[in-house]
């Protein structure tokens, strides 16, 4: 039976484990930092020398760690893009603006084990010559912000932060910065604008890649909370050893947030790709299945902006066959390994690791109306297709849930969504469009039937038409 593999959350829920530094140190805390600072340089076969900082960056690259915030991009590659020759300071920002609907993993780390994040950040900053870093925490986590400030004070008092960290000669300061309720601040360039004291309007890329032109137009690394915590374990284990966890190209562990219509919602840390989507939902170690008498209708596999999966769907997954050739293997929805690549092959994404389950009691039109209202509210308003389109979709869906549906609404929604995706500065446009595109395409009968039923009811005078 598949089990959790707790690396990040190893101690978080143990009885008596507290978020203070003494407890963290008793459990081996800050040993990875000492190890990183003492890492020797490496002589390369071509006669060149790798500095100890470069060695840590190389270990992170070798570990195969992929960003846990949503995009799943290689953390080591992201670090390698940093412009180290500009002469400008390099900044690091921890993205703790956890807001993707369905996601509640960073909350566990921030509230139960804040020092793990702080240690991961200090190592990451040291490896990247960063002297000033920020934790951008969402405004709705005031206790988390207090805990982090306390953790930073404790780390400073122990010499892990500040001037000349543990006698290494390296300096680092980390500050906590609170957001104020805007989802778009999770987008890294929007976050940077927000940290600069502005409205969080995402920046256009190119030219504003954070690795080159980030915070204050300086090279900047933005990493998710969970990603930075993994750095600590990569240093402890070594990149190659860490890469043995999980599956090839989907290494390590990750925390899955499970919610919706399951018996046991919660968060589970598993080796990436070692557990299937079906096991996440049905296994007793995880979701424990649906409520009695219910059947599965749909799964949102990676936060509400990921494309929905419909019960019974089948996919062709590319896998390496016995002879080493790639072959297409028929795979049922519930047999999809929960990893970055398999979900991408299934036409969706594992995103922030948030799985939301819907059973047969749910009206799909109502579900999409809820999701679309979120995106209409959270669009920053910078790009017209997103600002207007997200609102149109939400209004149309609201109308459909209040008796004003029309049989052509399904196509109307698809038309709007198709005109948003790819036409905006940031990926929010896709985040708003993808749920609509996937829900309406996969459940088109539900949308058409709702529209027709409303039309018939209005024709019979059962629903007043005036306000439509």
């Amino acid at each position: 039976m598949p089990q959790e593999h707790r690396l990040i959350l190893k101690h978080a829920d143990q009885p008596g484990y507290t978020p203070d530094i003494e407890c963290y140190i008793r459990h081996g805390g800050y040993e990875a930092l000492r190890k990183a600072l003492a890492t020797p340089g490496r002589d390369l076969p071509d006669g060149k020398k790798m500095s100890s900082r470069e060695v840590i960056r190389d270990e992170v690259l070798k570990s195969g760690l992929r960003g846990r915030g949503g995009a799943g991009f290689s953390a080591g590659l992201k670090w390698s893009f940093v412009d180290r020759r500009s002469g400008k300071p390099i900044y690091l920002i921890c993205n703790a603006d956890e807001s993707e609907p369905g996601t509640f993993k960073d909350r566990q780390i921030l509230h139960k084990d804040p020092h793990q994040l702080v240690e991961g950040m200090i190592i990451s900053c040291w490896a990247n010559d960063v002297k000033l870093a920020y934790i951008y925490i969402r405004g709705e986590m005031p206790h988390g912000a207090r805990l982090l400030n306390k953790a930073l004070d404790e780390a400073r008092a122990k010499g892990f932060l500040g001037k000349n960290i543990l006698g290494s000669g390296a300096d680092l300061e980390i500050h906590v910065h609170r957001g104020a309720g805007a989802y778009i601040c999770g987008e890294e360039t929007g976050l940077i604008e927000s940290l600069e004291g502005k409205r969080p309007y995402p920046r256009i890329k190119p030219p504003y890649f954070p690795a080159v032109l980030g915070l204050y137009m300086c090279p900047t690394i933005v990493n998710n909370v969970e990603t930075l915590c993994h750095v600590r374990h990569i240093v402890n284990m070594g990149g190659a050893e860490y890469a043995k966890l999980g599956t090839p190209n989907n290494t390590g562990t990750r925390i899955i947030s499970l919610s919706g219509d399951v018996r046991k919602p919660g968060y589970f840390e598993v080796e990436v790709g070692k557990v299937t989507l079906g096991e996440v939902i049905y296994n007793e170690s995880f979701g424990g299945g649906l409520k009695p008498g219910r059947t599965l209708k749909a799964i949102i596999p990676g936060g509400s902006s990921s494309k929905v999966l419909k019960a019974g769907e089948k996919f062709k997954l590319r896998k390496k066959g016995a002879d080493g050739q790639m072959v297409a293997v028929d795979t049922d929805l519930l047999d999809l390994p929960y990893d970055f690549d398999s979900l991408q092959q299934a036409g969706t994404m594992s995103g922030s690791g948030a799985v939301i389950v819907m059973d047969d009691t749910r009206e799909i039109v109502d579900v999409l109306a809820n999701v679309s209202e979120f995106y209409a509210h959270e669009s920053c308003g910078q790009c017209t297709p997103c600002r207007e389109g997200a609102l149109w979709m939400s209004k149309a869906l609201h109308r459909m849930t209040t008796g004003g549906g029309r049989s052509q609404d399904a196509d109307y929604l698809l038309h709007i969504a198709q005109n948003i995706q790819g036409r905006t500065i940031c990926a929010f446009g896709e985040a708003a469009a993808w749920p609509v595109l996937s829900f309406v395409k996969k459940f088109k009968d539900d949308f058409v039937a709702r529209g027709k039923a409303d039309e018939e009811a209005r024709a019979k005078g059962m629903i007043p038409t005036a306000h439509h």
Binding site: E98, S99, E100, P101, G102, T103, F104, D106, R107, L132, R138, G139, E140, M141, P142, H143, E173, H175, H177, R178, G179, A180, G181, A182, Y183, S194, L195, E196, G197, K198, R199, P200, Y216, S257, L258, S259, G260, D261, P265, G266, Y267, I300, S304, A354, I356, M358, R362, V367, N370, V371, E373, F374, H377, E378, C380
Partner: protein, 161 residues
């Protein structure tokens, strides 16, 4: 009443300003602190912040109007934020909001934040509070109430009266 920021708070904010290479970055933290102290962000607080950070008032005002957590009018002493996003909606957040609103004699059909006439409560729907595994959730001032039930709602109401 003239606007005045206590010396202790001003000193805290001056210290905050040193966290950033550019003072403007401190704007959000200023607004959080001022809202915590005064209960909302008044036009005077906007002007004061702009003055402290070397900005035009519009640079600060545009933050107040953008970020959902900042308020331009005083709110109730007990602020109730009911999460309305998907996982909480599936777990019955609509009924929770209705429960609060009806018990407080507010208008269930009205959108946005509503404050009771006695200034004791503000109730509103907010977007995802990142605690979907314990849905439905409600924030009461700084505290998160998980797996919130009608009985929890009544407790929150009786405590705030």
């Amino acid at each position: 009443m003239s606007f005045s920021v206590p010396a202790k708070l001003e000193a805290q904010l001056d210290e905050l300003t040193t966290h950033y290479p550019q003072k403007r970055s401190a704007s959000l933290m200023f607004l959080h602190a001022l809202q915590e102290h005064f209960g909302y962000v008044s036009p005077e607080a906007v002007d004061w912040t702009a003055g402290k950070l070397g900005l035009q008032p519009i640079n600060v005002q545009e933050l107040v109007t953008f970020y959902p957590m900042f308020r331009q009018t005083p709110l109730g002493k007990t602020q109730v934020k009911v999460c309305r996003t998907l996982s909480c909606a599936l777990a019955g957040s609509d009924a929770l909001r209705k429960h609060f609103v009806e018990k407080l004699g507010l208008d269930a059909h009205k959108h946005g934040a509503q404050t009771t006439a006695d200034g004791k409560f503000t109730v509103e729907f907010v977007e995802c509070l990142a605690s979907c595994g314990t849905a439905p959730v409600v924030m009461v001032n700084d505290d998160l109430v998980e797996k919130c039930t009608a009985a929890d709602c009544d407790r929150i109401l009786s405590r705030g009266r």
